[in-house]
Amino acid sequence: MMGKALRRPLVIFAVLIIGLITIGAFGADWIMPFDPQDMDFDNLLAGASRAHPFGTDQMGRDTVSRLILGSQVALEVSVGAVGLGLLIGVPLGLVAVTLRGWVDDIIMRVMDAVVVFPSLLVAVALAAVMGNSLGTVIVAIGLANVPWLARIARSQALAVREMDFIAAADAGGARPLTIMFRHILPNSLAPLIVQATLGMGYAVLTEAALGFIGVGVQPPTPTWGNMLQAAFPMLDRQPLLSVAPGLAIFLLVLAFNLLGDALRDALDPRLRA
């Protein structure tokens, strides 16, 4: 059942896309056909050619090389933000279940309050406070992920806690924390993995939006979002410059979403959409 869900052509496509972009990000120095900061004033806003398959920007820099380098930020943000969300959200959810009572109430009420701040809004507000940087973006998107992951961890842990093997561990004298992290957490992972994968796609979208409005990682470091920002005033002269980063964002987010859906089908058929 699990293998079947993960062997569908679309899932293979998704894994391929994520794999290729990851290889591109890690091996950028070797793969990039040009130096992404190299300006070529004889080749400003060039269209597609054999040397520059996605053309060049207003400073003659190669779009493909900049897309490859931009994939680093996209992956750093998606992994960093979801990692931070898991690191804070999961323990909060588990602590709420372990301690119950007023601790549970307080944690979940705070989560209810945090959830109303969209990640983009958090990022914009944090940028006003902390300044524009990769760290701000990761922290903002990560914080916005916390309540969702905490809620999932909590509801999953609540269900697992009622199972017989937990009662057995309890009767055997295991400490509450041991039960929580050794028995309940490993059995609650499936929906967390699904949400984390979907969250990565959402993080890529949010990072791109932030880059476009100029909040977040600043030029000259290329990100797919700030490439779109720079390309927008050139839309009537070189549309390709606006099309290429959009397609890159679309493909990576699509791949994360397809993989998340497939993992949901594979790991927990009850959650199937």
Binding site: F117, V129, G201
Partner: protein, 317 residues
């Protein structure tokens, strides 16, 4: 129902307090002295002037007192003054909020107008051509950045065809038609992602309902497919759809930040971005407070709608 409303109201109040506290705390997370960040020319103030500012803004009092005083002011809509324009934040916000509200409502209506019929069609003809087309649309549109959809719309309808304006805003009361012409593309850019989510939700909710025994009974009685789907299936599939529609309003506010910047619409979203670059902190704080409170209130009313539609929620939850 009254008991349910009271219970939800009781939950709403602490959440509202927490939100205001977080926005208040944001002020104290500012690097350096908040007094410098909260008034015009704050960077150039000397210690005596700073002491006056701190006293005026109650920054010299203990933290809980500061919060209580700040909250009292916020409740009476006194959110300070913009550092750049010197106008009251509440006045600036009220002008811009209406623009964002119009954009959000248009985007939301548009997404519902596309997603609900398409989702119902896809669900009632499962596995058919319509289902395939809507599924491909839904999966793709969720992965598209809304602002990039906007850029492509500007390219096609503005740059290439020249049919619609791509920048600026005309107030509805000045020229309703021109207002709508300016809002069409931003509303599509804002609504596409929501339409996709809503479509998927509608389809899966309808499929779940159509698999129930009472639907089989209705079919066995000889009712036409249309009557079964629209009369028996759709009303019951509506419940989860309402929740998603409510949640989407929150996403609309976030989306408006980017879409307004892209299309040069003078709403709250564009205002907060400008304020970040101008270091106009009182405006940032005001925008965050209004947007987060609006999302919270929408969620509250969504829950009430849900309970009104489904009596089980009222009695259980």
């Amino acid at each position: 129902m009254r008991r349910y409303v009271l219970r939800r109201l009781a939950q709403l109040v602490p959440s509202l307090f927490l939100i205001t506290f977080m926005v208040f705390a944001l002020m104290h997370a500012l690097p350096g002295d908040p007094a410098r960040a909260l008034v015009a020319g704050g960077e150039a103030l000397d210690e005596t002037q700073l002491a006056v500012v701190r006293h005026e803004l109650n920054l010299d009092k203990p933290m809980p007192v500061q919060y209580a005083l700040w909250l009292g002011k916020a409740l009476s809509l006194d959110l300070g003054r913009s550092i750049i324009t010197q106008r009251k934040v509440a006045d600036e916000l009220s002008l811009r909020a209406l623009v964002t509200l119009e954009l959000g409502v248009l985007g939301w209506l548009l997404s519902a107008a596309i997603a609900l019929p398409a989702g119902v069609l896809a669900g009632s003809f499962r596995g058919g051509r319509i289902d395939a087309v809507t599924t491909v649309f839904a999966v793709s549109a969720v992965a598209l950045p809304g602002f990039w959809v906007g850029i492509m719309l500007i390219l096609v309808f503005g740059v290439w065809l020249g049919w619609l304006p791509t920048q600026g805003f005309v107030a509805f009361n000045l020229d309703p038609l021109d207002n709508l012409r300016h809002m069409v593309l931003p509303a599509i850019a804002l609504g596409t992602g929501s339409a996709a989510l809503l479509m998927r939700q509608t389809r899966s909710a309808l499929l779940e309902v159509l698999a129930q025994d009472y639907i089989r009974t209705a079919r066995a009685k000889g009712l036409a497919r249309r009557a079964v789907v629209l009369g028996h299936g759709w009303p019951n599939a509506l419940l989860p759809v309402v929740t998603v529609m409510g949640l989407e309003i929150g996403r609309m506010f976030a989306g408006a930040v980017v879409v307004e910047t892209l299309f040069g619409i003078p709403g709250m979203g564009r205002m907060i971005v400008q304020a970040v670059f101008q270091h106009d902190f009182p405006i940032v704080q005001g925008c965050v407070l209004v947007m987060a409170s609006a999302v919270l209130l929408v969620n509250f009313f969504t829950d009430l709608t849900y309970a009104w539609l489904d009596p089980r929620i009222r009695y259980d939850g």
